[in-house]
Subunit: 411 residues, 2 copies
């Protein structure tokens, strides 16, 4: 793999694809079924045709480019990621998984000729939920698990119905009763880490073993709003003091569990939120993630008990609402093993890790053996025009994918 | 004082005065120089004339009703409070001090005839700062310390200039070089407590010894916004965690000082304030009050040092801005002594206390011997249509005022 400059080629194609939906400030906003989204898919279609892939869309607009296998024609190894972005996103999230797949297929074809099994790269229609309040539209349609009634009444922020947007882009629903592809034997997604671990540990590639489970809560504390000057401390039922005690306790408990547990209080609102009034209400969110469900459950139960204890002591009322409970998703140990072996064989600097963010892979894994490769995110930045990955790290990521695809499709 | 029903009479007059500026939901909004404010002052003027007081306005619209003294004609004992209200305020804050004064003067005149010294009740133009960004306009003009240039360019929330509003109400600035009254020998203000201490301790009257000093701060914590899923706990610079540690520390230190120190974190804002992002910024206010300046200073210095220590440990930046520093105001010990003696003599249930809120008295005290009497606020509620004081407590407050005025003006 030495003569071809994977890093330079990847960076070039990322910039090329990033022109579709480019914002004035340099970021990318490419929402599902918008004109710039259609243009990006058309450009990818054309590129892949010129590269000699067999190209086709599915009903909803997922775009596939295929190297035909010579031997096992009913077995396909799939790679890729999503083509949509968040509002004013960067050049790497999503895009890189598609570009990595295209470059890997081009390289494999040139170096090793026709594979035994089909290899496909997919540019998935949607993952971010940025235009409509629905995520994983692309992956869920590949698996046949998206439901028409879930999107039929949805409109975007301009009031445009989902169906109208889809039709206008030239796509429609998967016909009722149509069969789902049975040939998909593996899915490999390359993605930027969106965190700072690989950079801090100076590793180029992360092999994902689990995608974390998440539980999200809204906690509402009701105390008593009172005059800041005339209410002695012992008379108060101060909602922000109770909230602060609880937040400190959450962080202490989280740290006592150690990695990979993370817990975040991301949103805080108090009422009446006036300088000279003791707050009567405090509302905050808790987002807790872990790779193993039993530990996530144990943690959230422990935190809940501690919150209740603090509330009783502080004389405030507590209402805890868990509004999200997503199980962790393990990656396929067989493919993870292949990736690891390839990284070792090719001397890549890798780290076994988990994904703390959600990805198409967590959907794909429910029906197809799936695994992910990460490359570093500079300063952990994602969903921003400031997303950046060094070309040498991009190169290592693509090389790891090439090695794994070779192992899965040529042997 | 037994046959006259002070409570019933006070309640009747409070309701009568509360009709000027009455809101649809029953509260009162009576802003400086608004038509309803003019009507209220005119109604009070007429009432006091009918009661046989000598009535006059000063230049800016403070209204005085006077019982002439027989002996010491250049000595006046003044009582009263402010006639303006906050937006949608109650029947007691301000109003009660005026009504208590009127009833006391009527009673004294009827019971004891002409005093030796003049007694006046004042309905002060403004204290709350609800219409224009200026407080104590009434009291500061009585003392001749209001400055024309401080209000000349001010406009209210509708864009109406202060001067235009004043002229339209029929008033103007005190003429340059005009002399200030030298006859004011004492000021006594009766007011609702605006806190819950008297009610909790089942006392009818509070004799105020100090009005607290206040220091107000805005504290800004800068950490690092990060992805809630992909940022391990040890990589975080979590602004809300640092803020929570600091708030808990402030409350611990406050409680270690004990009463009368109070400290309030009333306003909290975090950024970006999104469920799945570790907050990069947290901003909160601290309002600290104490009756003694040295302790207030020591406390805020101790808190500042602790905040800095926590910020260093948490790896966040800290910016502390003190934007208010008002000294405590002691009440006149002579008048306080007279009030105490009267309460004991008349068997009133009283408590020596401080005022945690600001009042006209803190301005008046700078040039005139001043003291305050409190009556209970039900549940500590003030600045609300829900303000309430039991008639029997109103009665005790007025009786305490009667006793003190008798002592100061008839002997």
């Amino acid at each position: 793999m030495s003569t071809f400059d994977f890093g330079q080629e990847t960076e070039k194609l990322l910039k090329w694809l990033g022109r579709f939906g480019q914002d004035a400030n340099g970021g990318v906003s490419r929402f599902l079924y918008k004109p710039e989204w259609v243009e990006a898919q058309k450009a990818l279609e054309q590129y892949m045709q010129q590269a000699g892939f067999v190209v086709q869309y599915d009903d909803v607009g997922n775009l596939f480019g295929r190297l035909e296998g010579s031997e096992y024609k009913d077995e396909t190894i799939l790679t890729g990621s999503h083509v949509d972005t968040v509002k004013n996103g960067g050049l790497y999230d999503g895009q890189f998984g598609i570009i990595a797949g295209i470059i890997a297929l081009e390289y494999l074809k040139k170096e090793y000729g026709q594979p035994l099994r089909n290899i496909e790269v997919v540019s998935m229609a949607e993952e971010e939920g940025s235009r409509f309040p629905y995520v994983f539209w692309g992956a869920k349609n590949i698996l046949g698990i998206a439901k028409r009634e879930e999107v039929e009444t949805m409109v975007d922020f301009e009031g445009i119905p989902f169906i109208e947007a889809m039709r206008k882009a030239g796509f429609g629903f998967r016909p009722a009763g149509s069969t789902v592809r049975k040939d998909l034997k593996a899915f490999l997604e390359v993605h930027v880490e969106q965190g700072g671990v690989l950079e801090a540990e100076k590793k180029s590639v992360g092999i994902v073993e689990h995608i974390v489970g998440q539980r999200r809560f809204t906690i509402e504390i009701t105390g008593e709003a009172n005059h800041a000057g005339t209410t002695p401390m012992s008379y108060r039922k101060d909602a922000i003091h109770a909230a602060s005690l609880i937040i400190c306790a959450i962080m202490d408990i989280t740290k006592s569990y150690g990695d990979p547990l993370v817990a975040t209080v991301g949103k805080v609102e108090i009422k009446p939120n006036i300088v000279n009034v003791v707050p009567g209400k405090a509302l905050f969110t808790l987002d807790a993630r872990h790779t193993h469900k039993d530990i996530l459950v144990k943690f959230t139960e422990e935190v809940t008990a501690r919150m209740q204890g603090i509330a009783v002591q502080a004389g405030v009322e507590l209402h805890i609402d868990m509004w999200m409970d997503a199980d962790p998703v393990p990656m396929d140990t067989g493919i993870v093993g292949v990736m690891k072996k390839q990284c070792e064989k090719n001397g890549l600097s890798y780290k076994m890790m988990h994904s703390g963010a959600g990805h198409d892979s967590q959907i794909m894994a429910s029906l197809i053996p799936t695994a992910m490769l990460f490359v570093p995110s500079h300063k952990g930045i994602s969903h921003s025009p400031l997303e950046y990955t060094e070309p040498r790290d991009l190169a290592e990521g693509v090389k790891a994918l090439v090695g794994a695809l070779y192992e899965l499709a040529y042997k």
